[in-house]
């Protein structure tokens, strides 16, 4: 019977438009979650897809030995494509000339992602048997022979490689690369037991398959094998992609919070409207259970409608946005199950958690209300409501982002907003007692209105200010992320690296480049050395450690050391001060952390069979993603003066100046030139796509906030109408009422603006320090702009919403009341 009654009530209220606000709020929540989730998943797929070209695959397993065939069998079972390749260093001989090269031996099918670029253009094929493709500079070093020898086999030198997709970026890898077929490796007989080889197992496939593979295969790997994906930090775009993903998550998360606020407000109104009905039902003897079932079902129906509409709208939104995206991105189609589940979850969790408190109050309405109009039952503390709301938000946030710092940041922001609002509410009510209602001056009328509607105003402020917080936060973060990327890849980012510059050539090279480049390139000396002891404690390798030896673990390979008088650009001192004494060294923060170094530690190096002991004087942060020569250790010139060195440099050259490179090769044949222009281009493309997506998300958020603001002005309309009727009856002019209403909303908007700036600065501080690793600074112009815009926007919205009321005659107003 209650179910029938619930259905009837639902049907009637729906057709009379009474459920519009709450359904709209739920729809908005579901729509933004579903829409943003599916757009951001599509974007993530696209970004990862682009990024995967950098590693020529979606996933790689790196191993010093052949891996367990069981792992490959898993990949085959799942249906992933895979290729195997080997990488090792070897000497190549051509007559009397010889050169150390890096050999990439690949299988048919390589590369799974991206393309090999030859001097003749992009190719799909691989070298034929018994021939190799070679990096241009090898030709120069060996004098372009017809045949070369690697180990016991002889190969034809066929085509010039401009770039391998997964060449990576390492200007120190000074040996040129040759590409051959993996079947030819055996003939060379260079791979003996104990040889240093890296086996690269590259995989590609759709994301679901890759996830399954990761789950099944990753546990089978041993410690010497490495799992690589596009975000492993190996590729220079990893941090860009990660930030973009987090940004998208955050935007949706804030979207959820906003929609939750809308649902909270709508739920309160929904319950208030049913107070009399509940009192009446109780008077006629309805049991508590009957009323619980009745309204539980009713709310369930309301939520279901909201969720269905939201899902439909969400997919519409996804379609609409996708149609604006470039075709390469739109072509990726993510699975729809996650957005759907998230949407449904959001709808039901938020509707029930946010309605719980108002609903409890509704169910506790005493029947006596039928006789004594304004009785409300239970007065549970607002803290319960806040607790429930925060729990709902935290659950949803975590479900959605699966990131604790992000979720906690949003919760903290909500808490701060709540705190500010309650302080404000307290003052508004306190100050309210002094002044009466003066009907001559619109400002005083507006102030009186603000105080009288203190409670509704608090509710409206929640909506207005959370919408503004959201806007400000998203806007600032987007700008910061874009700026950061721009800094990493400025217009004149170096696209050429020079390595192996002999000491006597450095001046000549600098003179040669001077007329062609805008910024004179910085030339870094490079000295190779090995770190052997920290604080006189002799270091051991991680292999030795594994074998059971006691001792401190060092870095087992040789390091590239440099000296400088001043800090390099793009580096930041975290602690200490940059090389003051001869024996000072500046250490990169990552290495310092790995080795457990602190300021004042002494480091002993072996360079050219001599030892050098220096003291850690500063720890530096290095932005590895900038395409500059970066160093772990920077010494003073005096300390490294006794050792032999070569130099390296990087510079930017316009595409039109390619001929400069040719004459550079001719003039300095022993200097190696590495062209990273193609990589820079690719990087830039990815960043452009990501930037576009960030902008789209911002537009979405803008729309959502506008919707919430519009919904907000709905609150308090009834009491406003009563008041307007009274004022009209006592002869207030239309102008006065309009000005007072406008001012009241403007004041509300201004207060919301101030609150929003405070909360947004706080949120940004948390986000930048805990999640995004960006520089924190205050946005002073906001402190003026946000209140101003808040006032203007809210006043226009308010006047627009009230325009009908304001135009009504007092007879009409009284009648409607």
């Amino acid at each position: 019977m209650e179910l029938k009654l619930a259905w009837r009530l639902f049907k009637r209220e729906l057709s009379q438009g009474q459920l519009l606000l709450i359904i709209l709020a739920i729809t908005l929540a579901v729509l933004s979650v579903t829409g943003l989730a599916s757009v951001s998943e599509r974007l993530q797929l696209a970004i990862n897809g682009q990024a995967s070209k950098f590693i020529a695959a979606d996933r790689i397993i790196n191993s010093p030995k052949k891996i367990d065939p069981a792992v490959l069998a898993i990949a085959d079972d799942i249906g992933l494509s895979r290729v195997t390749s080997m990488q090792f260093n070897s000497m190549v001989y051509a007559g009397d000339e010889f050169q150390l090269v890096t050999v990439r031996a690949v299988e048919e099918g390589y590369p799974l992602k991206g393309n090999i670029e030859l001097s003749t253009g992009v190719t799909q094929g691989l070298p034929s048997a018994d021939s190799i493709w070679f990096e241009t500079r090898l030709g120069g070093l060996l004098g372009y022979p017809k045949q070369i020898e690697i180990g016991n086999a002889s190969f034809g030198l066929s085509k010039e490689i401009v770039r391998l997709p997964d060449a990576g970026f390492n200007p120190f890898a000074s040996s040129p690369v040759v590409l051959m077929r993996i079947e030819d490796v055996d003939k060379t007989q260079v791979i003996q037991p104990g040889s240093r080889v890296t086996y690269l197992y590259q995989f590609s496939g759709d994301s679901a398959k890759l996830d399954t593979f990761e789950q099944q295969a990753k546990p089978l790997l041993n410690t010497s094998q490495r799992w690589v994906d596009v975000q492993s930090g190996d590729s220079p775009i990893a941090s860009a992609v990660k930030r973009a993903e987090r940004f998208l998550l955050l935007a949706s998360l804030l979207g959820i919070a906003l929609a939750c606020a809308a649902i909270g407000i709508a739920a309160q109104r929904y319950c208030q409207r049913h107070y009399d009905v509940v009192a009446m039902l109780k008077t006629f003897g309805a049991s508590a259970k009957q009323i619980r079932v009745l309204f539980g079902t009713h709310l369930l129906l309301v939520t279901a409608v909201g969720v269905v509409l939201g899902l439909v709208g969400g997919f519409g939104l996804d379609r609409a946005i996708t149609s604006f995206l470039p075709a390469e991105i739109a072509a990726y189609s993510p699975p729809v199950s996650r957005p759907i589940l998230l949407g449904i979850g959001t709808g039901f969790i938020s509707a029930f958690m946010f309605s719980a408190y108002p609903l409890m109050r509704l169910l506790a309405i005493p029947p006596l209300r039928v006789l004594q109009g304004h009785l409300e039952g239970l007065q549970l503390g607002m803290w319960l409501h806040l607790l429930l709301s925060l729990t709902a938000m935290a659950i949803l946030g975590y479900l959605y982002s699966q990131s604790l710092p992000l979720t906690l940041t949003v919760v903290a922001a909500v808490l701060l907003l709540g705190l500010l609002l309650s302080v404000l509410g307290f003052f508004m009510i306190r100050l309210g007692h002094s002044v009466g209602m003066k009907t001559t001056n619109p400002l005083q009328l507006a102030l009186a209105g603000l105080r009288r509607r203190a409670r509704q105003n608090a509710v409206q402020l929640v909506g207005f200010s959370s919408a503004l917080v959201l806007l400000l936060t998203i806007f600032a973060l987007r700008q910061d992320i874009l700026n950061e990327w721009q800094k990493q890849l400025p217009e004149n980012a170096p696209n050429y690296f020079l390595v192996n510059i002999a000491p006597e050539e450095t001046n000549a090279i600098a003179d040669f480049l001077k007329p062609h480049v805008k910024v004179p390139p910085v030339i870094y000396p490079v000295i190779r050395g090995r770190l052997t002891a920290i604080n006189d404690e002799v270091l051991i390798s991680s292999e030795q450690k594994k074998a059971g030896e006691e001792g401190r673990v060092g870095i087992s390979r040789e390091l590239n050391l440099t000296y400088r008088d001043s800090m390099p650009e793009n580096n930041e001192i975290i602690s200490g001060s940059f090389n003051q004494d001869i024996n000072d060294v500046s250490v990169e923060s990552g290495v310092a952390e790995r080795l457990g170094l602190a300021l004042g530690d002494s480091l002993t190096y072996t360079i050219d069979n001599q030892t050098l002991t220096v003291k850690v004087a500063s720890i530096r942060e290095v932005h590895w993603e900038t395409l500059q020569p970066n160093f772990f250790m920077i010494f003073t010139k005096e300390a490294l003066a006794p050792f032999a060195y070569t130099s390296m440099s990087s510079f930017h050259l316009e595409d039109s100046q390619r001929s400069v490179i040719l004459s550079l090769i001719k003039q300095f044949p022993t200097v190696s030139i590495i062209d990273v222009g193609a990589m820079v281009m690719q990087l830039r493309q990815i960043i452009e796509q990501v930037s576009l997506s960030l902008t789209l998300v911002m537009v979405l958020v803008l729309l959502a906030s506008a919707l919430v603001m519009i919904a907000q002005t709905e609150a308090g309309m009834a009491s406003r109408q009563r008041e307007l009727a009274v004022l009209r009856t006592f002869g207030a002019s239309g102008w006065l009422l309009r000005a007072a209403t406008g001012l009241e909303f403007a004041l509300l908007g201004t207060i919301a603006g101030v609150l929003a700036v405070i909360v947004a600065e706080f949120t940004l501080y948390l986000l930048k320090t805990q999640v995004f690793e960006l520089n924190v600074y205050m946005h002073w112009p906001w402190w003026a702009i946000a209140p101003l815009c808040g006032g203007l926007v809210v006043a226009s919205l308010g006047l627009w919403r009230c325009r009908q009321l304001l135009n009504k005659s007092c007879g009409e107003l009284l009648k409607a009341h």
Binding site: R12, F284, A286, Q372
Partner: protein, 216 residues
């Protein structure tokens, strides 16, 4: 105060004298802080909220000054409401018949805001009698109506009351309406006294005098 089955009783008194509080107590909507109320032999002060609700469902019904119709439900659905809560079969047919008795068979599908005040109160009367209550409590049933409609509603109320042998407890300012009840009680600052064999005119005089004094 002792009211017998089938009796009609009016409670009169100035605003704020405690009429509504008394009504709330008698109708098991509120709980007395002391003293005892027996409704059809059941001591109300011993009941908890749930049992009071059950008691109201079985034995009691109401008519209010402000009608208290659910404005999103139409006339028929409003009348059906208590019957459905009580699980009475054929609620729809019965409600239809009831609305016919109050002369609204042509207004079944109208919503409260499409009905006049008199019509709304007739719907409320139909709703009050649908469960055949033992006691009907009416709080100023004609308070919001003009005199023509008031008379009509009063006629209807007393007629249905007689036919169904319902006990009627009526709170009102309206002397004429009160005089149609078998007994009249006066409430003054929380004190209840019965007007014995009072005529409508007596009550009227007294109230006028009282109101005159309170105005001065």
């Amino acid at each position: 105060m002792d009211v017998k089955q089938g009796e009609s009783v009016a409670i009169l008194g100035p605003s704020g004298s405690g009429k509504s509080t008394l009504l709330g107590l008698l109708a098991a909507l509120d709980s007395p802080s002391q003293g005892s109320i027996l409704l059809d032999g059941v001591a109300l002060e011993t009941l908890n909220e749930e049992s009071k609700a059950a008691l109201r469902k079985q034995k009691v019904s109401f008519i209010f000054q402000s009608f208290m119709l659910v404005d999103t439900l139409n006339a028929l659905e409003n009348v059906m409401l208590p019957a459905e809560l009580a699980g009475i079969p054929n609620a729809k047919d019965k409600s239809q018949a009831m609305l016919e008795r109050v002369g609204l068979s042509h207004r079944l599908n109208h919503f409260p805001n499409q009905l006049s005040g008199g019509e709304q109160q007739r719907v409320a009367i139909a709703r009050a009698f649908i469960c055949e209550p033992k006691v009907l409590f009416a709080d100023e049933p004609t308070g919001n109506l003009d005199s023509a409609n008031s008379d009509k509603i009063a006629d209807m109320l007393f007629e249905l009351n007689r036919e169904s042998d319902t006990t009627l407890v009526l709170v009102t300012h309206d002397m004429v309406l009160a005089s149609r009840c078998q007994r009249q009680f006066m409430m003054d600052s929380g004190n209840l006294t019965e007007k014995l064999s009072a005529s409508a005119d007596d009550v009227l005089d007294e109230t006028i005098a009282e109101e005159a004094s309170s105005w001065s």
